[in-house]
Symmetry: C2
Subunit: 412 residues, 2 copies
C-alpha cells in the first residue's frame, strides 16, 4: 500500500452508531401499517433540503412499477428529497394499475411531506404480482408524515426489511476542506441476492456537497466492487436499487474528481457500501456464516471477479461451509467451470490460513484444524491463480436447512 | 407433427426391461471392492467385439485423469471394447500420480479382459483430490473379470452410482434394414449436475452398425437437447461424460446420415438419452419432484434453452416447488434475469394446465388447485414468450432439506 493510501485510510472513521441519519439534515421514520404481520413495513427517509441523487437499478427485464416512477423523479433534476419505502409487497408484474398505484403513492407522499412530486422517490419490496392495498398505503402515508420530523432511524431500517433477520446500517466520518463530512447507509437484502445490483435495497446519505455526475460515476464504480459482488442464491429481483443522496449541508467546497480529497470521499463511500453488502450477505436467507472469497494474482480483474462469484455462488461450496466440511474439491471445481482461462496446475487454495491446494494438487492438512476454522462465523477462502496481479473479492453465505424452510413457504 | 414423423415415432419401442445389455453382444458386471461402505463400486461394461465409440466430456478446466486416458484410448481408432468404472473416488486433481494410476487401471483392466489397451476406457466418479487405493482397485479388477461373462447389468448400474438413490436404465428397439436394432443406456447423476455435459456418467450401447463420424455428430446433437438440458445445482463436475458404443452385431447396413432410417435411429438415441437425463434430474440430491420447464414460442432455440435452464436452476423456484407454493413471481423473475431479449408484456406462464400469468400479468387461479398440482411428483412449467416458433425443454428437481443434509456432510 502506498503512503498516500495509508494517509487516506486514516481519515475515514467508522462511527459507533452511524446510520442514514448521521449526516446533517437527514431524518428517517418507520411504522407498521399492516402489510406485514407485526414488523414495521412503511418507512420514510427525508432530507431537509433537496439532495443530489444518483441510483443504480436492477438489471432484471421486469422492473417493478416504483422503479419506473423513481427513475422518472430522479431524471427531472437529479435531486431527491424524500424516499418512501414499503415492504411486504413489491408492486412488480402489476401492469398499468400497478404503475398508477406507484404514481399515486408518490403523489400522496409528496403532498404530505410538503415536497415537490419529482423530489419524491417510491420503493417497494416483497411479494411479486399482487396489487398494493392502496387504502392502507394511503392511511400509512398520512400517519407516517404526521410524526415529528425527528423520527427514529431504527424504525426506518426495520420498515424496509423482508425476510432479513436484522437491520443493517453503518456511518463514517471524514474531513473535507476542514469540514466534517458524514456518510451513512441502511440496507435490506436476504433472498434474491445476486450480482448486477439486482437484488437489494441500499440507501446511502451524505451531507457532502458533490457534483452530480461525479457522484453518479462514484456510485457505479463502488457498486461494482461491493453490492455487485455479493450473492445469496443467484436470483436477481425485479425491484431493487441502491440510491445515494448528497444534501451538501456539510458545506465543503463541491467535491469533483479534481478535488484533492476525492479519493477520500470515494474511500468513505466504498467503506459504507462494502459494509452494507457484507451485512446483506451475512444475513442471507438461512445463513449461519459469511463467506468471503478472494481471488488473487489473476490476469485481469474481471476474471478474478467471475471466479470469486462462481465459488461463493456454488451450492456445493455453500453446503460444505454449512457442514464445516473442508471439501476443497468443490472450490477447485468451481474455478474450473468458471469459464475463465486459468492454468489448473498453478492454482492454490487456502481456507483461512490453512493451505489445502498448492499448484493444483492437494496439500495434507489437519482435518480438525480445518473443521475448527470452518466453525467460525466468517469463512475466508483465498484462491491464488498465479497468473498476474489483479484480484477481486466476493461475499456470500452458506446454504442451510433454513434457506429451504424459508423459501418453501415464503408466499403462503 | 408431419405424417412421416408420426411414422417414425411408431417404430421406436420402449422395452420393459431395457438396459445396456439389451443390444446384442454387450455384457456388464459390478462388484463391491471397498471404496464405498456397502454398495457396489466397481463396474465393467463389455462388448464381444470392438465397438465404434463416441463420447462427450466435461467442459470443466479440471479434467480428471481417467478422462485423459479414455480420450486417448478413443483417439487411437475410435473404438472401445470395455469400460471400467469405479465410484467413490474421482481420481481428479491428483496430478501426475493420478494420471499414472489411471493408466495402470486401464492396463490391468485390458490385460484381465483380454483386450487391447487402447480398446479399454476407464472412468472414475466420487470425491475429488484423493489418490485411488490402487491395491484395492487392482484386486477388484482381478475379481471382476474372473466372473462369468454373463454378468448382471443391475450390478453395473449400481456400481456407477454415488449419492444416487436408484439405478437408471432404459432400452429401446427399432427396425433398420429389416433387422432388429437395440439401444440401451445406464446413467448416474445426483449432485454437480449442470449443463454442458459436465456432470454425470451416461453409457449408451447399441448393436447398430453405424458410421463413426455420424455417430459422433448424433451424440453431440442429442446431448445438447437432453443431458445438457438438466441441472441439479448448477455445479459442473470434473469427471463426467457420456459415451456411446455401437458394435454392429445387429447386422444392419451401416447407418449414415444418408440412410433412410437415420432419423429413426436418431429418434431412438434421443429417447434413450432423454429418459436417462430425466431420471438423473428426478434423482437429484434430495429431490422429491421432477421439474420440466418448457419455453415455447421463442425467437430462437438458444434463447428458449437459456430461459428454461434459468428457471429450472433457480433456487427460489426449486424451493417453491418443494413447498408446493405457486409462487409464479419467482418464475417470471427468472425469465427477467435470463439476459435474453423478451417482451415482458407478452409472457404467459402455466403450472400444468393452470394458467397463472397471461401477457405479463397475474391471472386469478384457485390456490387449492395449484397446491394440489404442485404435490405431484412431476411438475410441468410452461412459459410462452409469444415471440416466435422455437422452443426448448429443460429438466431439474426441487430443492429440499435433504439436499442440504446430503451436501453438508458428503465428504466426511
Amino acid at each position: 500500500m502506498s503512503e498516500s493510501q495509508t494517509a487516506i485510510k486514516k481519515q475515514v472513521k467508522v462511527l459507533e452508531d452511524g446510520r442514514v441519519t448521521t449526516p446533517k439534515g437527514f431524518h428517517a421514520r418507520g411504522i407498521h401499517f399492516g402489510l406485514k404481520r407485526k414488523r414495521k413495513d412503511l418507512g420514510w427517509l427525508y432530507s431537509e433540503v433537496p439532495a443530489d441523487s444518483a441510483a443504480v437499478y436492477t438489471t432484471n427485464t421486469y422492473q417493478a412499477a416504483p422503479l419506473v416512477v423513481t427513475r422518472e423523479s430522479v431524471s427531472v433534476e437529479n435531486k431527491i428529497q424524500g424516499i418512501l419505502v414499503n415492504s411486504g409487497n413489491a408492486n412488480a408484474c402489476t401492469g398499468e394499475k400497478g404503475l398508477q398505484d406507484a404514481y399515486q403513492m408518490r403523489k400522496e407522499f409528496a403532498a404530505h411531506a410538503g415536497i415537490q412530486e419529482h423530489l419524491a422517490a417510491v420503493v417497494s419490496t416483497g411479494v411479486i404480482g399482487q396489487h398494493l392495498p392502496m387504502e392502507k398505503i394511503l392511511n400509512g402515508i398520512a400517519a407516517l408524515v404526521d410524526y415529528e420530523v425527528d423520527g427514529n432511524a431504527d424504525d426506518f431500517e426495520e420498515a424496509i426489511l423482508t425476510t432479513d433477520t436484522c437491520v443493517k446500517h453503518i456511518g463514517v466520518e471524514l474531513e473535507i476542506d476542514e469540514k466534517k463530512v458524514m456518510i451513512g447507509g441502511a440496507a435490506k437484502g436476504s433472498g434474491m441476492i445476486h450480482p448486477n445490483m439486482a437484488t437489494m435495497l441500499g440507501f446511502i446519505t451524505t451531507d457532502a456537497a458533490i457534483d452530480h455526475n461525479d457522484l453518479s460515476e462514484a456510485l457505479k464504480q463502488v457498486t461494482n466492487s461491493t453490492f455487485n459482488m455479493i450473492t445469496v442464491d443467484g436470483d436477481t429481483s425485479t425491484n431493487d436499487m441502491v440510491m445515494v443522496l448528497a444534501n451538501g449541508l456539510a458545506e465543503n467546497k463541491k467535491l469533483t474528481k479534481q478535488h484533492k480529497d476525492w479519493g477520500l470521499f470515494l474511500e468513505g463511500l466504498e467503506m459504507v457500501s462494502k459494509e452494507l453488502a457484507k451485512k446483506i450477505a451475512r444475513d442471507g436467507e438461512g445463513a449461519t456464516k459469511l463467506i468471503e472469497v478472494q481471488v488473487k494474482d489473476a490476469r485481469d480483474k474481471e476474471a478474478a471477479g467471475v471466479i470469486a462469484k462462481k465459488i461463493v455462488g456454488s451450492s456445493l461450496v455453500k453446503t460444505a461451509v454449512f457442514g464445516a466440511d473442508a471439501n476443497w474439491g468443490r472450490i477447485i471445481c468451481a474455478v474450473g467451470y468458471s469459464g475463465q482461462q486459468i492454468d489448473p496446475n498453478l492454482v492454490s487454495i487456502s481456507l483461512g490460513s490453512i493451505k489445502v491446494v498448492e499448484n493444483g494438487l492437494p496439500v495434507p492438512f489437519d482435518e480438525d484444524d480445518a473443521y475448527n476454522y470452518l466453525m467460525n462465523d466468517t469463512i475466508k477462502i483465498t484462491v491464488d491463480l498465479a497468473q498476474g496481479n489483479e484480484s477481486a473479492v466476493a461475499w456470500g453465505c452458506d446454504l442451510s436447512y433454513d434457506y429451504v424452510r424459508i423459501n418453501a413457504s415464503y408466499r403462503t
